[in-house]
């Protein structure tokens, strides 16, 4: 087995999760694809030196991914997308994938404005500390707190209105 084969054997089971994590952070599938690709290249180049072996791989590559994504967000302040990201993502979406998009939580989170969504995803999906989110997105800690506060208010109104019953079971 070449190191390329070993890398792909570890990477493939993670690819779907990495793709969706990137999508959640970045808000569209076109950027998610780019982020996963860049992450893979970074990880592959560093793969020979990965300590901890197969067990450590998922967390290791996820950290590289989150970092790649936040780098993309930081750069976005000066990126003007000419096409709406949604237009690109529609082209990539197969019927199979559409079927699995019905998560209530994601539907609510994806509707948030970019600034709020990234903070929510980094906190609640990636378990990042607020201080680390501030560093990663290059925004003040106070801004992270206020965005999280606002986002949670919006999400609670939305999700609890939609399925108040399910909340009781939490």
């Amino acid at each position: 087995m070449t190191s390329e084969d070993r890398f792909f054997a570890l990477f493939k089971p993670e690819a779907g999760r990495l793709y969706r994590t990137a999508w959640a952070i970045l808000g569209n599938e076109a950027d998610a694809g780019d982020a996963v690709q860049e992450t893979t290249i970074r990880a592959y180049r560093a793969f020979d030196q990965l300590k901890g072996g197969a067990v450590a791989f998922p967390a290791w590559i996820r950290r590289i991914l989150v970092n790649t994504c936040t780098q993309i967000i930081r750069k976005r302040t000066r990126v003007i997308p000419v096409e709406r990201p949604e237009d690109l993502s529609e082209e990539r979406m197969t019927p199979d994938m559409q079927l699995s998009l019905d998560g209530d939580v994601w539907d609510a989170v994806r509707e948030l404005d970019e600034r709020y969504r990234a903070v929510v995803v980094l906190r609640f999906l990636n378990d990042m500390q607020l201080e680390d989110i501030a560093t990663a997105l290059d925004i003040p800690l106070g801004t992270v707190k206020s965005r999280l506060h606002t986002a949670l208010k919006v999400l609670r109104t939305k999700l609890q209105a939609e399925n108040g019953e399910r909340r009781g079971a939490v």
């Binding site: 792909f8 990495l18 096409e83 939580v105 994601w106 909340r167």
Partner: protein
């Protein structure tokens, strides 16, 4: 202190790091105020539900086949490409950067800051997205486009165009405006640019604008064209502090 103020601090109490005195004050209040205690529990539970909902959605994810194919393609040819092997100095610089990352990873769980400081890999990865195009060593560092292949100048403002690269997925072109430029977002949103091939204007996929004082560097990706085609770049409504006579500038690039 009214309950509203305590509730405003709950996000930070649950998810952040309050100073010990504020933390103690909140915990003290929660032990005596039922309304706030209930709100704190509801908010904590809501956070857990968010985490669980997002994780379930992520666990169901499938990487689209075209993305997967692109990834495999971008890694496999990279190892065999002659330009890679012919620039050993560059290759070892990348290796050195990664060694730094991995050492950091073995010492602490939080390697995000170390990875964030990699300056080279972004540009490299961008090039690898299009493994079939010709890569100049100058192109590898995305910040320095090299020598312009075409230029035009009016009243102290200069437009430099750098060698476009053609890949299977896109044409990437970089150009810079230098001189008396307006450094505002509003000025840049009026700016227009068209890249035309032999069959007319190309559809643009992405435009990146990096502004510094007196310089605007633009990187644009367009739909692919056949290599060797002549291209014409037309720019309009330049972000100039002093208006010049010309409103529209054109630069032609011979194959």
């Amino acid at each position: 202190m009214p309950c509203d103020d305590f509730q405003a601090e709950l996000v930070e109490y649950l998810h952040g790091s309050l100073p010990p005195d504020r933390k103690a004050a909140i915990e003290n209040h929660l032990s005596t105020c039922q309304a706030c205690a209930e709100e704190a529990v509801a908010m904590r539970d809501f956070g857990r539900m968010l985490s669980r909902g997002l994780r379930e959605w992520v666990d169901e994810g499938v990487c689209p086949p075209d993305v997967m194919a692109q990834i495999e393609e971008s890694l496999r040819p990279a190892r065999r490409r002659s330009w890679w092997k012919s620039w050993p100095a560059y290759a070892s610089a990348v290796a050195a950067v990664f060694i730094l990352v991995v050492v950091a990873a073995s010492q602490t769980m939080d390697m995000s800051h170390q990875i964030a400081s990699i300056p080279l890999v972004g540009g490299l990865a961008t090039n690898l997205l299009y493994p079939n195009h010709d890569v100049d060593v100058d192109d590898l560092d995305g910040r320095t486009p090299g020598e312009p292949v075409a230029s035009t100048e009016h009243d102290g403002v200069r437009l430099d165009v750098y060698k476009p690269v053609t890949g299977t997925d896109a044409v990437r072109i970089q150009y810079a405006l230098r001189g008396e430029l307006l450094d505002t977002q509003a000025a840049m949103t009026r700016f227009e640019a068209t890249l035309a091939g032999s069959k007319g204007a190309l559809k643009i996929h992405r435009l990146q604008i990096v502004r510094t004082t007196g310089e605007v560097l633009l990187t644009a990706e367009y739909e692919p064209v056949l290599p060797g085609q002549a291209l014409t770049l037309t720019v309009k409504n330049l972000p100039l502090t002093v208006p010049v006579d010309k409103d529209e500038w054109q630069v032609s690039l011979k194959p």
